[in-house]
Symmetry: C3
């Protein structure tokens, strides 16, 4: 009669999640192309995802699915014919979505196509040019400082032509058509926190839920940022009404404290659930009001949909210097952090699955808990143990107007403890589900 | 045409209230029995209360009226036959509701039935066992340390058998059936702040109101804690709809600052009135949100009734070390504190009786106060005295939407001053009662 | 299609405003009389105001238009026949509205009619006695200390008889009958900040608006304090329903920070507009909740009208020591301060004229700003310039529920910047006016 308990598990380890990141790290992903396909294939070995292909040129709301981009090789050779930048060393070296090129260029012209980070001279920046045809290279500022030859050979062996946009989807049917959406972007190349960490968490959360009995249905999207969510929303409009809430999963592997960015609506159930969990399980965390920038919550929260989708992350984009650089690498994310993050997501699921309203069957005065073994027998003097107070809170507020989440907020007691009190009272016949 | 003025009185002294406490202090009270009857008789010499007897075994909601408990004597004798603990010295020595016993027990067995306070080795704790048959003694930890004999004789000459639960009730009829409830518990033995202080305040407040003309009716309950309020609520359900608000009177004789525990509803008229008075008359005070523990507000605020009943006390239960110990004695409460507390309750009554909404009869622009003798004649420069500003506030906000309490809150002026301004304007014809 | 832009102008200088103050400073004004007429004539040289005359004795709500007061001369002569106080030196020397007198008085009697400021012994206070017939002189406390003669001659050559109350009005018709009210009091004699500064600002704001195309109509009142607004409201009741908001203009020439006193309603559009502008353009400012004292907002906000009229000033009455003294002179106000104040009022007009709600024509997902030249082409890494974020805010919140003011408040971006973003989106076809 109760919802299932998702607050405890023993089957997922941080190391497993980390191993998926290690496997995906070398692949050069972009918003389209074989890097995405290869990544989805690796995820598909863990959970049965559906892979969708959407043709270039497809109109999706105000946008058009772009040409597909693939790349085999890229390098810069100096005057002596030595490769001084090689895509094979690090796929960040190429401006993502660079058009093919093979020519000799002057020092001056080359530098117009180079991107560096002077403030972090050892790191390679990550840059893209999806919607404006261009070519370029990214490199450390230290290396940039050594470019003194008068001429260089630049080769980018890429292809930009009609093809497909590829995304992955995993759907777990629950008792209800109402569904919870988890979305992560899969378009970044060798960057770990943003967002191989989100991909790994989504994969293992989906794997865990696939074996559970749930009230809600759960949908996981593995999509390229922006154009991917726009495409999915466009192709799946009839399903959108079932989405009761959701989270964008990003940056969940670093050492930082948790951050919750609220949905546009700001006080929806998912917002309250996440805040409740962070307040009750973390000594400090950060809360950000919705703003129309960031990740795919921008699209889910556009006014024509206004979905209740927030984002639960650790350190958010732009707040850590390693963001969008080669320093967001395998040493920047840690198994323990990934597991902690997953556990927060499981508490979210647990709260959503168990957030019912109950009716106190004995609403006039307190019931006599003692005769039901739910109360200490010697009165007065000692403080009641917390759970007795929680029982009294649940009884007092179960008037049909308050969900367990409401009670948790008013009592200042964790959702999990309120849920356990409600279940004990339900088992003793003092509460009924409304 | 105005409500009566209860904010001033000259007939009650703190010493009178203290003398009632002195008289009641030696009596051994419990939730049933002759100690309650004797206490009600003493109160009945001051105000005409009705004493009710409810049979043991009567079902009251989820509870059952317990057997009646009476006690004549109790002691512990050591190996030498000397009384080392004697109920006649202090009735806290017996675990309240102890079953009768008379036997020799080993040192080890005796200690299973002893209660002490190691952190306050001179004090005797107060302990009860109403709903679980048991026997026991309470003593100072210092005395406990001297118990080295191998065997002791324990005698408790008590009686636990079918009888009655006894409570007292005083009702003062006002112009309206709508009533204000004042409730105090009378079940504690020789403990002064908790709650002979509340009994004394309730008695003298009732005595004062019995001679006054009031809009509201007033009900005073002198009841055993928990089972008493449950019993009264069960036997008086048809009357409950008339209760517009109320206060549980406890712990009103100590030196501490005032504390208000809000009703479950939290923003009802009684809540706002009490907070308004404390904010305007005390330099500091404490406010506690409702929580489902404490005194009989737990029952009044159960979801099936949800009465607007809070509790106005000085230091609350558990917040002072003397709570529920022999140190809560006649030197812990003071006449001056009792009188101050009573005066707060009178201000509450005054505000409830006078919290009307008025209509400004001259709502377009200010009326010319000067020609009515209500305004200084020389304009500008000097600050207006407070009462002129209060007159202007009352005029400005008396649009039919604001009660005097609303005006007091918005203007940041005490209810009493707002009331006096309203009466002056009413007398000059500028206001009419809505 | 957009509202006009009032946030920029080049035609008004602080020096011009200051020159009007210089011209008006020597005139002895009161709530009636030729001083008011002369002042309105000077204003009339700059803007075409209508001057109204209302007969003494006219009933206006609870008040009566008083007799008209005029004064030619006044002085005090000492025992040696020397003029020691002369109205011609400073018109503050006479208690405003003094009845005529010409007699010898003892030192003792004279002092009953003298007003000084012991805490500022060099300054002459400003005092009035409009509604209580009296005579008197105001002087520096230093001079008061020298009054040792036994007898003095006092002469006040004034006239108090049936005549008129005079006020000025300027109305600028806009597209709508809905109007914005600006009100300033013109009854103070030689006092600069209170309120020649307000008169000068109102005059030049009216002059500027008279040449503009506006949605709203604008009404400017140049009236004696209290009795003037009461008179206007009484004589113009049918027009009052068109007043959508307004400001009382006072004390706008001193060096202090800006202060906004809210309307009685407190959260009306005018309140939100002024607070928004101060928050976005000032490093610090002061906000005062409405209270029923101060200037003519008292009458506009009386409960029978409850107009949305606040007051935007710099340092408010009573908060600067020079208030209502001879030290509120030509050196206390500065051209630069006057211009800064005027600019705030223009921003208010600009926000009121442009505070529309728009509909996002592409509400499902973000529109592709890049293809419209509204977005940087190279993604990631660099922070978006503020205007792109503002564009996204306007798109995200333009769901028909939010005005530009709502968007400005939620986005934490100035109204002006939100307006410019909305206009750019409107020009590109992405927004339509609701």
């Amino acid at each position: 009669m109760h919802g299932s308990d998702f607050s405890q598990h023993s089957e997922i380890s941080g190391n497993e999640m980390y191993r998926l990141i290690e496997k995906l790290y070398p692949i050069c992903r972009s918003i389209t192309g074989n890097g995405v396909r290869d990544s989805l294939k690796a995820i598909g070995e863990l959970i049965p995802i559906d892979t969708h292909e959407v043709k270039s040129g497809t109109k999706v709301f105000d946008w058009t699915v772009p040409k597909e981009w693939n790349i085999k090789d890229a390098y810069i050779k100096n005057g002596a014919g030595e490769k001084i930048i090689d895509f094979k060393d690090n796929n960040l070296h190429v401006l993502n979505y660079s058009i093919p090129i093979s020519k000799k260029v002057s020092n001056e012209e080359l530098k117009k196509h180079l991107f560096t980070l002077p403030e972090h001279p050892d790191w390679i920046p990550y840059r893209t040019s999806y919607y404006n045809e261009n070519w370029g290279f990214c490199m450390s500022h230290n290396q940039y400082a050594t470019l003194t030859d008068s001429e260089y050979q630049v080769v980018i062996d890429s292809e930009l032509k009609d093809g497909h946009l590829t995304y992955g989807e995993f759907y777990k049917k629950g008792d209800l058509e109402d569904e919870i959406l988890f979305s992560c972007h899969i378009c970044h190349p060798s960057l770990c926190n943003d967002n191989l960490s989100g991909i790994a968490l989504a994969t293992y959360l989906a794997k865990f839920l696939s074996n559970q009995t749930t009230h809600y249905s759960y949908r996981f999207l593995f999509i390229p940022g922006t154009i991917g969510s726009i495409t999915w929303l466009n192709l799946n409009e009839p399903k959108i009404k079932h989405i009761k809430g959701g989270l964008v999963i990003v940056c969940v592997g670093d050492d930082g404290q948790f951050t919750y960015k609220k949905s546009r609506q700001g006080n929806s159930e998912i917002d309250r659930v996440v805040l409740n969990i962070l307040e009750n399980t973390e000594s400090s965390h950060k809360v950000i009001d919705f703003y129309p920038y960031g990740y795919d919550e921008r699209q889910y929260c556009s006014p024509g949909f206004n979905l209740h989708v927030g984002s639960l992350s650790r350190t958010t984009h732009g707040e850590y210097p390693e963001y969008h650089t080669s320093a967001d690498n395998l040493s920047f994310v840690k198994p323990q952090n990934l597991l902690e993050s997953l556990n927060k997501y499981l508490l979210v699921v647990d709260a959503l699955e168990n957030n019912f309203s109950y009716l106190n069957m004995n609403p006039k005065c307190e019931p006599q808990l003692g005769k039901r073994g739910l109360y200490g027998n010697i009165g007065a003097g000692d403080k009641q143990p917390v759970d007795t107070m929680t029982l009294l809170w649940v009884l007092n507020l179960s008037d049909g107007e308050n969900s367990l989440l409401d009670i948790s907020e008013r009592a200042g007691v964790s959702f999990d403890e309120v849920k356990r009190a409600a279940h004990a009272l339900h088992d003793s016949g003092l509460l009924e589900r409304k």
